[in-house]
Symmetry: C2
Subunit: 164 residues, 2 copies
DNA sequence: CTCCAATGGTTGAGCATTCAATCGTATAGT
DNA sequence: ACTATACGATTGAATGCTCAACCATTGGAG
């Protein structure tokens, strides 16, 4: 394993990296706190409900749901179990492929999502979009798309992981 | 509590937001997996060791360390407890203020950090900086600084939380 | 000096996530 | 048809994090 010359970060890259880590950590923390306090769910669970709410019949296969929420199957399985306990999601067997399971948003789940949404969007706006110029929003979109395409999401559009 | 007209995200804002969430989630996941696999520590612990290694005497007060790692005091206390068990960090009482505690990087901790650093930097490069143009790096720095300043980090430089 | 609020830090309970192992089902190869 | 492999999903143990409660120390205010 020769060739051990590591290419360290340049000063401006290091500064960017530290700033990136700090900002994403604090932003995710703020999002989680707001949602936990006002809606009794972490941000990851909000995302699950939100993705379900936009899908036909408000339901998706577990593996599809895992893909669009950037979640491992295990993580999603635990999460859906908890959401099911809260009455926000319901599991349904898939007749065509009996390995598969659908997760479906319940009415209560939709209501919880609808109640949580305004506060969540306000928080996202306050901490992100209100601080950026329109140009910066476009730049951020291109930057995150580039990162996504390097992480195995073709085209960088997160919804591309969903089949046809 | 009137005025319940929520200002929802515009289509391009929504697309940016989804892309941002996906990219940051996957990137943090990739970082955590690589460090856990190759160095036996999550990314948050790497950061703790890294910040200590750059401080005078390789040591910092717990509350200072919490601030520069964007960590709650509780989180840091648990983390340092674990790092202490691994022999990577040592606690020392502060003579001037007996409420305060110093966390100091041990030689073993420094060695573990040094061993972990090349792989970590390679991962950061591969997933982030290698995918961005120099202009985009600058844009990302400005964007994250703007977000930071909105989250209570003056000037948006994460090191500004450190006194002196 | 005494009390009281603020500060620095720790603790324990509960929740979320990861990893590895497992189970049942589907699919392909022979 | 029979077997091996892959797939979709779940489980349990171990780890990390959050929240709230707590303890000890400090710095004032009266």
């Amino acid at each position: 394993m020769g060739g051990d010359e590591t290419r360290w970060l340049e000063p401006d890259e290091l500064e960017t990296w530290l700033s990136y880590v700090a900002a994403t950590t604090l932003l995710e923390g703020a999002l989680d706190r707001q949602l936990q306090r006002d809606a009794g769910m972490p941000h990851a669970y909000y995302q699950i409900l939100a993705m379900l709410s936009e899908s036909p019949d408000r339901s998706l296969r577990m593996s599809e749901l895992a893909a669009i929420t950037q979640s491992s199957q295990s993580r999603l399985s635990h999460a859906v179990a908890r959401l099911e306990c809260k009455g926000w999601v319901r599991r349904k067997p898939c007749p065509e492929d009996r390995r598969s399971t659908f997760a479906q948003l319940t009415e209560e789940g939709f209501a919880a999502l609808a109640a949580a949404a305004p506060g969540h969007v306000r928080t996202v706006r306050r901490h992100l979009f209100d601080r950026l110029t329109p140009e910066q929003v476009g730049q951020l979109r291109e930057i995150t798309r580039a990162v996504l395409s390097g992480l195995g999401v073709p085209g960088g559009d997160p919804r591309d992981v969903l089949p046809g």
